[in-house]
Symmetry: C2
Subunit: 221 residues, 2 copies
């Protein structure tokens, strides 16, 4: 029984890793497609999101089933609760990748505006956050999880830089306002993906230590 | 023991309701403050968010503790998992309310642009979604939860209407681009709050029926 439980936990962790791989791919494809102004490539985020949604439901059901059957406690219970939360964050990252594809229509067609470099750098920073948060989860590595929390500022700085570049451009080129607005919303989508990776890192720390690092740790009664 | 468990579940549900009340207040205050262009009122969202964050940590800890001690199964287990998820959604709604306060700087100072009516209507629609999703949770009412899922389109329609009104305005009044952008981001914040209320309604349906209505219910293996 004990060994079977261990196997089930390993299986759940592998599924989370696989799902996280789809999320990484979705970020990579979306930012590459924006760089290349390639609408067909951007649309290929959709089948990836369907894989993410499928994994989401499978993992959720498996967690409920394991909780019901094994009644885990202490570290095992915390791990499964962390998986339920990480699963939700990865699913919402898939939503954000799809939102990027919906928000890009005008930008793809407007050659007056070029933010390829910023988008690629910001996308890269988000992918590194996703990868590190999942590595931290797999290895139960608190130090790495802490690094993810720190790198959220970097992603926010990319977003602010894009906003600051786009505002004067919008004033000078009112006919490009729609495409600039696309980029502002896309930068927000990427920023939100970074926030989800931060949530994952917080859940890893909770699973490893039982400590709640959110909101400065307040809230115990 | 059984009676104590029932009492603990009731206590958890009351805490979620109280937390949801803070979220409703935060939406109301934020939209009223925008209507009145009242920066001080808008800032009062922050102490509310701290209450939401406090509730978030307390509820999360209580759920872990009950799962460890009571090893619930079937409907009770699904209810606690739903509470863990609803708790996360309410906490993120608090974040969105605070984001509204951060995104309003230019709009508050720019009398050229007036979207008070649209903002108030959209805020009202979001508040109704939050209220109904929590009523559905308290009463375990699937029909009401289903209504919440349907009303998400209404909130999205408000956002689209605001976007469509703001684009030509930005072209005509380039000096008001920052304040128009504030409104676009605020409309997105409100839209995301509606999305979180939708997530809560889905969790209520799952808790009541064990059925997963997300992603068209695919994903079982």
């Amino acid at each position: 029984m004990e060994r079977r439980f261990e196997g089930e936990l390993q299986d759940l962790k592998s599924r989370i890793l696989e799902m996280g791989g789809y999320v990484e791919q979705a970020v990579e494809i979306a930012t590459q497609a924006l760089e290349e102004r390639n609408a067909a490539k951007l649309a290929s985020v959709h089948p990836l999101e369907r894989k993410i949604n499928h994994a989401h439901v499978v993992i959720d059901n498996a967690c409920v089933e394991i909780l019901a059957r094994q009644s885990p406690f202490a570290a095992d219970l915390r791990l499964i609760i962390a998986i339920i939360k990480i699963n939700t964050d990865l699913e919402r990252m898939g939503d954000q990748a799809v939102n990027i594809s919906y928000n890009a229509e005008h930008y793809l067609a407007d050659r007056k505006i070029d933010m390829a470099q910023d988008l690629t750098q910001m996308g890269q920073a988000v992918r590194v956050m996703v990868r590190k948060s999942l590595d931290a989860f797999m290895r139960q590595d608190i130090v790495l999880a802490q690094q993810v929390l720190e790198s959220d500022d970097e992603v926010d700085a990319f977003k602010n830089k894009m906003f600051q570049g786009l505002l004067p451009f919008m004033k000078q080129e009112p006919q490009s306002i729609e495409s600039a607005l696309d980029l502002i919303l896309i930068a927000r989508n990427l920023e939100r993906m970074g926030d989800h990776a931060t949530n994952i890192a917080e859940d890893v720390i909770f699973a490893c230590t039982g400590e709640d690092v959110r909101h400065g740790g307040q809230g115990r009664e």
